[in-house]
Amino acid sequence: MSLITPSSKAKRSFGGKGGGRRFENNKIYGNPLPLLFVDPPSTRLNSVLGLLGLSLTRVENPHCEGIFDPITRSVWITNMDHCMTLWRRGFFGKGDLSRSEPSWLARQMNLRKSAGKQLTSEEVTARRRAERKQFKLDRAAAIAAVAEEAEQIFEKEGKVTVPALSGPAIPSAATWKPSQPIRPETPITPAEVDIPDPLDEEPLENVEHMQLTLQEAFFLLWNLDCLTVLHPDTLEPMSLKDLWIAFQRAHLPIEIEAPQPLRFDNPFLINYAVYHHYRSLGWVVKGGIKFCVDYLLYKRGPVFSHAEFAMVVLPVYEDPGDQEDAPSNLQNATPFAWSWLSTINRVNSQVQKTLVLVYVTIPSRKRVSATVLESPACFTQYSVREVILRRFIPARMRD
């Protein structure tokens, strides 16, 4: 079954998942957060307690560890078990050599064995793209042949026939089958040109690590308390207060003499407010750079379905004076031009996502003093609201 034919089910998923794969996904990715709730054994006492609304449920905390890297503004997780725990329970983080899940090691092993039993998502995508390229070449050849025929008829008899662009002679995505097995082109580096001798192979060492953005890391360590972050130089665990200040300082310009004062319009705070808000509503929030936006919202996770909403974060200053004092221009703080708005809207409607503008209000320094920034209590001063943008086509809305 070619990978480019649309599957019969409504959901388009890679690899043509059937019921078995979905069941597996539900098992592996079933927990929405890294914490696990362990229910107590159902004794009589416990059921009585349950009626009263009390329970003896235990919480299992995975206690993952990561290292703070202020240069890349991220937290690195090198322990593979922790990586997989955080990825599988809530889709936190991204492998730095992979598309999403840290799969570099699996891909290298597949390359060596070239058996490809368990295809990673990158390999599936590469194969699908190669097949689609071949299909387009076949289709172009068929169209050229039909047009040639029509041309011949015109020259000989002067009869005008329209060369068809669809029809029985021309393959369509639903009916095309690859004539020979397609091999995706892998980029060949000079080192790989000479075939490695099986005896010379070094044991594979995983050089990949997983990166959490500062927002994801803070969400895990502040609310769920399941992440410990180590200082990059001393490798000592940092306290929550230190991390709160350090995450904000990562976005401020480096000052040699005196430390810069903390500001309300710190990008970390604004993005964290948005991230926390949508995580608390149950959405899985991932980065949206692929579609010109800031965040993408998934209902359960990227493995289950495509993202429904594309969020653009627009900070709004309560006091315009604060905006002029800002050391660096905050992204999207001034309303942008209609051409850019149309562009983002068009890109996202092409991939069937709805564009949502998220307005975050930044408190003014005159109303609230900056000392409140030293604890997360400052989040009550911000507010998050959304405006949904769609195109209105009068010709189609007539009925």
Partner: protein, 453 residues
């Protein structure tokens, strides 16, 4: 256009053909497709045009490496048909023309002779002091058109407009003033009564598609205002009241016994009284203020200067429209110029949303009920306004007494994605960029009312 009306016309134009041509011209089939030029001509003069096929995007090389004879031939044929139809003169039957007089100081066109179906949705009646034939001033009601309506009809060829003049016209019969050309109409009427070229363009585009377009703010007191959509706010049910009462009690108790620690917002160490499943965990995380009702704390700049004012009310062609008492509009339009006005700021959007009524929830696909107008959904249980989480103690005690299901309308659940995408209030902003119009729907989002967990 004016000359051909006065000269005798050789071709015998049957009125039915003209009406058919005008009707076809109204119905452009696709928004993105080109016009079928042949439909403008009457049946006798129409050239034969081959059926429109698929678009070709590059020149094709023919058999001997030269140009494709077939492609060139087909292109030439289509071009010739287009030029042929454009060369023909457009005429209107004298029985279908209305007459009007443009009064510059009033910025209105008074209609003296009314013909055709346009006036069922255009024009309003205004009483004016009129000098009668015997010299006495009498209050008389007459049909008046706004400048955009007048230009639209003149350009279409359905109205012939005179300009009001002080010349003595008693001797000339049937002449009420100085005749106006289309160009003169444009130059005189655009700029009066708040009408700009962009607004006229949007008006004309929507009218050509078949909508009824009226102004939201009446320019004078005789202009009928639309009845606003009545928002059915049902009083909260007994259960809602009890729940809110207990919720308040419980959060009060919580606040007394356990202060909300900002360094440990979740109390997961002891599950005894606290969180015991993912649902309650997510609920206790919702403490960031959200929603459009949170005050903006910005200084109120003068809102009348903002270009974001609702200008047009739009009614779908299928809505029964009565001129004297227009129903609630289907859409409301703001018209702005893309080059001079940036995107709306949050303050401007909030001001617009404050005026607008709430929309009903989108129903799943099913056939409409007989009383389709009363499809108002039950109000969604409002999200807790207080930032602190509150699951009432009694609510946990008797979970069966406090159902928290998604709002159900007429036995069918509303799809949360559809409700999220539609939003609660909607405004359409027409952005005119040097002649191209783009329409955008800005809706007020309500993600906190449809949580995913």
């Amino acid at each position: 256009m004016d000359e051909s009306l006065e000269l005798p016309n050789v071709h015998l134009q049957k009125p039915a053909d003209i009406v058919a041509a005008e009707d076809d011209e109204q119905a452009s089939d696709d928004e993105d497709g080109g016009l079928d030029w042949t439909k403008l001509l009457p049946a006798a003069l129409r050239p034969v045009i081959p059926k429109r096929g698929e678009k070709e995007y590059e020149p094709r090389t023919g058999t001997a490496g030269g140009e494709s004879g077939l492609q060139v031939h087909v292109l030439e044929r289509s071009r010739a048909a287009m030029f042929e139809t454009l060369k023909a003169t457009r005429t209107t039957s004298s029985k279908a023309i209305s007459y009007g007089i443009w009064h510059p100081h009033l910025a209105r066109a008074e209609v003296t002779v009314m013909k055709g179906i346009h006036f069922s949705s255009m024009g309003h009646s205004a009483p004016r002091q009129v000098l009668d034939s015997d010299g006495t001033e009498k209050l008389q009601k007459r049909l008046e058109l706004l400048p955009e309506e007048a230009i639209y009809l003149i350009e279409r060829g359905s109205m012939f407009c005179w300009k009001e003049s002080n010349l003595d016209l008693q001797q000339l019969e049937g002449v009420d003033g100085v005749p106006m050309t289309v160009q003169q109409a444009y130059s005189e009427m655009i700029g009066t009564e708040d009408l700009t070229l962009e607004k006229f363009q949007v008006f004309a585009y929507l009218k050509r598609l078949g909508y009824v377009v009226t102004r939201t703010r009446p320019p004078n007191e005789h202009y009928p205002t639309a009845t606003p959509l009545s928002v059915a706010v049902s009083s909260p049910s007994v259960l809602d009241r009890v729940r809110r009462l207990f919720g308040g009690l419980a959060s009060g108790l919580r606040r007394v016994f356990a202060r909300f620690d900002w360094w440990h917002p979740l109390n997961t160490s002891t599950c005894f009284l606290g969180i015991r499943n993912y649902g309650s965990l997510f609920r206790s995380l919702r403490f960031i203020p959200t929603g459009h009702s949170v005050p903006l704390n910005r200084e109120e700049t003068n809102q009348k200067d903002s270009p974001y004012q609702i200008f047009y009310n739009l009614y779908k062609p299928s809505t029964p429209f009565k001129k004297s008492t227009p129903p609630a509009p289907d859409f409301q339009i703001v018209v702005i110029n893309a080059r001079t006005t940036p995107m709306p700021t949050l303050q401007e959007l909030t001001n617009l949303f404050d005026i607008l009524p709430e929309q009903p929830l989108p129903l799943p696909r099913q056939k409409r009920l007989a009383n389709g107008s009363q499809v108002e959904a039950k109000p969604v249980p409002s999200a807790p306004a207080a930032p602190l989480p509150s699951t009432g103690f009694c609510q946990r005690l008797f979970p069966w007494a406090f159902p928290t299901t998604a709002p159900v309308t007429q036995g069918r659940r509303v799809n949360p994605f559809m409700a999220l995408k539609n939003g609660k209030k909607m405004i359409v902003i027409a952005v005119v960029d040097a002649g191209n119009i783009g329409f955008f729907k800005f809706s007020e989002g309500a993600f906190s009312e449809w949580p995913m967990a």
